[in-house]
Structures are given as structure tokens and as C-alpha cells.
Symmetry: C2
Subunit: 404 residues, 2 copies
Amino acid sequence: MYTVNANYQELQGSYLFSTIAKKVAAYKEAHPGCSIISLGIGDVTQPLPDAVIKALHSAVDEMADVSTFRGYAPDLGYSFLREAIAENDYRARGCEIGADEIFVSDGAKSDSANIQELFGAEDIIAVCDPVYPVYLDSNVMAGRAGKYDPAAGRYTRVVYMPCTKENGFIATPPEKAPDIIYLCFPNNPTGAAADKERLQEWVDYAVKNGCVIIYDAAYEAYISEENVPHSIYECDGARQCAIELRSFSKNAGFTGLRLAFTVVPKDLVKDGVSLHGMWARRHGTKYNGAPYIVQRAGEACYTPEGKAQIRDLIGFYMENARIIREGVVSLGYEAFGGVNSPYVWLKTPEGVSSWDFFDSLLDRCNIVGTPGCGFGPSGEGYFRLTAFGDKDATKEAVMRITKI
Amino acid sequence: MYTVNANYQELQGSYLFSTIAKKVAAYKEAHPGCSIISLGIGDVTQPLPDAVIKALHSAVDEMADVSTFRGYAPDLGYSFLREAIAENDYRARGCEIGADEIFVSDGAKSDSANIQELFGAEDIIAVCDPVYPVYLDSNVMAGRAGKYDPAAGRYTRVVYMPCTKENGFIATPPEKAPDIIYLCFPNNPTGAAADKERLQEWVDYAVKNGCVIIYDAAYEAYISEENVPHSIYECDGARQCAIELRSFSKNAGFTGLRLAFTVVPKDLVKDGVSLHGMWARRHGTKYNGAPYIVQRAGEACYTPEGKAQIRDLIGFYMENARIIREGVVSLGYEAFGGVNSPYVWLKTPEGVSSWDFFDSLLDRCNIVGTPGCGFGPSGEGYFRLTAFGDKDATKEAVMRITKI
């Protein structure tokens, strides 16, 4: 008689986006003909860069000919892509990361969910609060989070690191060291980015306490400030303590194409066991490589044309972010992010909850955003606006807010 | 201080293909200019069908235009593909499987490795011997297999079901029922396929004993005999006990394109917990959907042109299988498979081990195959030949064997 994995029963339903959808639907029904603009979109909206489209067509043609057809890809990724990544994302920034330390995959979501498999079942994880929910949920599924305490809104075995206005939305290292630390900079949802000094503090802390850092840098392409590291390997000692997750989703718009990579340095060795070797074994056993045509598309992102086109894409979204941020600040709101990330994180007025603010924005301006409390208890009193929309709609949205 | 997942240390190295590569390299060095033919290839070699190529180009063009661009796919797959699968692979065969019971993924390897996550950590698994190694290895990583016993060549908590000439390579249900049963028909490596009666026995056994069957039907397109089911859902009661894994790799040649699906029927409920709901939650948390362009390629496989082109592809490989099988049988070897699968499973002569046969085939005919013992202890004394090669090379290979 088989049994089911009881840890899944500890997962909490994610009602955030379904609640939003229901509220919007109800509003539309009560107000036929209203024109609602969404600043809640977490997905890119602009087409793939031309260099990527050309690479895809060319690779598809290769698959049509017996002499150039490609079957199974190498488990860890084609070397043409791993070399391009190592050269452009690491060596060019002075980081010592070899092509053979890069593992190509189908998405940073998969990698950020799967990476916990490498660690002991009893290890204690620490997550930022608020944060992208996958880090926590994947650990709940593995039984590492303990029980859910509804009164506290938290799991009993998880260390929550509040990220608020007071600490500049950069978590402070806990007094008692956890085992596995998830960090995401630039951050979703707060838009905060750790500067070199703050990140180096984290690396020093991890090395000193024997922690591993899972560093999610999916939004690194949005960094505009000089002193913000694009990779954790810009910090001394990171090769001994950190795994880095990267993605082609938010820079080149691959959310529907699926391509990402994870860096596991060979220096990451615990009691004689190489995490690089373990991750390679996991890839070999549970994964069969990203599609050849998509890996060629990824390679095209590193050509001069690809780089220029990606800069334009990022510029497009960041101009939206600027419009949103300046618009809400000019109205007297406190707003954060939007400088090194496509997310603007707005403090709701004193005494107004995240959901109250959602309701009033919908009702008075016909604008949809995302209540901060949906990303964790410390997100209460905040609200996320995203820059992935159409430019005219973004301008119109800000105009509506300023007209209240 | 983090720890590592100690279960990974129980994994046994897979030396099969690296040992083969070393032996071949050594032979080539000793015999410069020799022309070696491989009948060991487990990957397709023919280009993608024209209908698939057209669908890919068309979908790539959609990604280049803001009005048709697609971002994140639905976690469980686009409905255009799920509907096509439900209609063609199930309803057309009289199986009651709904589109919402189909989960699109990037590969049957991923699915067959990940599916064990749904079950209790103490559940006992049963695997065929010999068999595709992923079922076992993914359970070793999860700690479900127990310790490896080098003397027996087996894990202590795993039920091995020998598949030999004596039982027609169809495993017999164990006396003491395990919890999770992995079956693969048509089988890799033996090429055996269970007929309707034998498969119905398995379903009845699973229902009676409260087991779940993980049914890998990745090779169903190669079935040529009438009484061999293409899906386990052709059997009564399978909706209550079976999960089915399918793939586009070996029918349409998607090994380098990555597309597969898993069926989890809504009737699969354990103590009030729906496995369908659990798998949906896993997809939603740990996966972000297969690429849009690849899902359009999958859809093209179900068009009249796509179906005809896939029939031709399968026909091409099965003609190779026939040539191999008839060739070795005419020489007096006992050979199995090659009728409902692209694999021919040859019995080595009395007293000749799998590796001895490998050496002699390489030395006397310059042909490379795969020793059966590499797929499990009961594969000793057998040898796998595959039909995925070039036709002329396959003919030449058989000619060489017959000339000994």
C-alpha cells in the first residue's frame, strides 16, 4: 500500500493572484466598460531580440537536415553556450568562474526549487521576508520547513529575515547562523539591490559560519548603479560558500523560451564531498539538457547585436520603472526599487493595509498592482508595481494616479 | 554548518558507457584505419519531420512580434497541445483520459525521476531487472532504496523483478506486494512488450494490493502487434492505480527538442489526497512550462502530415530493427525484441559473458553494442543492439556479423 509525501500537506495555498483575479473580475462586472491597466504583471511583454529570432530559425533549419541534426544535448549544456557565459558574465567582470562550473537548465525556477536536494534533510534554511515563494515552498515539500503556524503565518523550522524600510530591504545576518541562506538581489518584490560591501558581509558571514548561500541573480541585467555587484563571485570567498542562479528570462525575454544556468564552483566542498559533483550527478540522472535551438538562442544573447538589443529591452522596461517611480514619489508616496530592478515597492500610507491600498487603487484609478503582504508577512504595508507593461499604458496609469 | 544529502553517496557510478568508450578508443589506437559501426546508439539520428520544422519556424515568428509574443506558458501545458494529446493518444484508443489529466513537461526522463517525490519516504519500490537506470537512481537520491550491497549488486530496500527468457522478459508480480511498481513497455533494453492480458494482470494486482504503477510508455509508437496495449489505460482499473509517462523523443525525434507528458488520472486518490493535485502543485512550484515553440512542434505531430511523417520515421528505424534481428537469428543466435521496439536483445552464446561478447564483436567485426549486464544483474548473458543508426551502416554491420 503506497503512501503519499505528507510534506505536501504542509504547503499553504497561494491565493494571492487568484484573489486579485477575483476582485478584478467582480469590479469589471460592477463597472462595465471600465478600462483597467495592470501594473501587476510579473512577465515580460516585448518580443524576443532579433539576434535571438535569427539564431532560432537557423538552429531549426539544422534540425531539418540529417547532417546537422542534434539529438540529446550534453546533460550540463553545450560548450558553445557555457563558454559564452563564462567569458561574458564572469571573466569580463573579473570573476574566476570556469565554463565547466556552469550548468545550463530550463529555468531559474526549476534550479531554485531543485537545488535544496543537495542538502541534508535537517538543515535549517533562512529566507528573506518578503520574497519569491519558490525557495520556501520547495523546502516545505522536502520536509525541511517544519509545521506551518497559522497564527504567526510562518513555518516553525524556517528563519525569516525581515526586509523593511529600516534595513533598506537588505536582510541582516541572523545572530544564530542558519545552514542554507537564500538571497535574491536585485530583489523581487522589493527591487532592492545589495551593494558590494553589504554582499561581502554576507559572504564573510557564510564562510565564518559554514553556511551555503543560494544567490538568485535573475534580475542582474537591471542593475544601473556602479557599486552593486552583478554576481556574488565579485566578493572574496564566494567560491567557497555560494551557488549562483541566473536566467535569460528577464534580460532577453526568455520566459516563454526557457533557459537559465546555475554556477556551482568546484571549491564548494563539504567534508570531502563536492557539491559540483553532486549537481552534475543530479543533472545527469534527472534532466536531459535544454533544447539545442534554445541554447543557440542563448548564445546569440552574447553577440554584439544580441547585447545591444538586450540593452534596448532593459532600457525600455527601466524607462517604465522610472515613470512609475517618479510619478508616485511626486505624489508624496515613499517608493523604493525601480533603479536596479523593474519593480517599484511603494509604502502604503500610514494605517492603510496592502489590500486596502489594492482596493482603493482599483476603485479610484482602475489600476491593478500586487499587495506586498502576498510575498511574506513583512510585506504588509507595501505594494508592488511592475515595469513590464506597455509604455503608453504605464504613462496613462501614472497619470491616473496623479489625478486623484 | 550545512550538510549534504547523504543519499547521493549511495549512488553507484554508471561506468557502462564510459567503459565502452574507453575500450573503443583503445581498439582504434591499436588498429588505425579500422571502420567501427555502432549498434549501441540510444539516440535518434534522423531529422525532425517537416511538419514539426514548419511549426517551429512559425512559432518563432510569433515570438518576434509584440502582438503574438508569448511569455510564461501555463504550468501544466498549453491547452492546444493537451487537447491534441487527449484526443489522439487516448480518446481515439477508447481510453477515458481528459486533457486536464495531462501534464506537459520537458522530458520523460525528468518526469520518471521526479514522480517519486509524490510518495512516502518509506515506500518500497519494485523495478524490472534489467531496466533504464533512472527509476532506481532517483529513488536512491531520495533515500528510498536503502544501502547498496556490492556482493549482491543490489540495493537492500528495492524489489528487483528479473526479466529473462524464462518469463518472456515480462516481470511477474512479486508475492509480497511492493508499494510503487515501475513498468516500462515496450522495454528498454529488452524490447519486450506486455500484451493486454499480462498488463491487465499487473493492473489487477496493483488495485488489489494498493500499489501504484509508474508506467513508462516512451516507446509505444514502435508497437506493431495488435494485442499489445499502447496505453495502460486500455486496461480496466488503471485509472485507479496508474500514472503513465509518454514522450515525443523516440516517435517524432524530439531528443534534442525536449517534450513529454505524464498522465495522472483524477481517480488516483490516496486517503483523500489527490495525486493529480499533488503533481499539479509540483509543476506549479518547481517548473515553468515547456517552451511555447516546442509545444507548437508537439501539436504538429498530431496533424495528418505530422502523423504520416512520424509513421515514416518509425518505419525507417523498424526496418533497421528487422535487418538486425533477422541477421542475427539467421546466424543461430537467440534474439528478442525488435518487433514492438527499436531494440534487439540478443542472448550471448552459452558461457560467453556480456562483456566477452562485446570484446569479440568489437575485435572480429568492428561493431559496438551494449553489454546487457550494464542494465542490471539479470542482463548478464545478454547484449543490446539498437536500430537508430544509418540504414547502410546497419546493413553493413549485419553483413560483417554474418561473415564471421
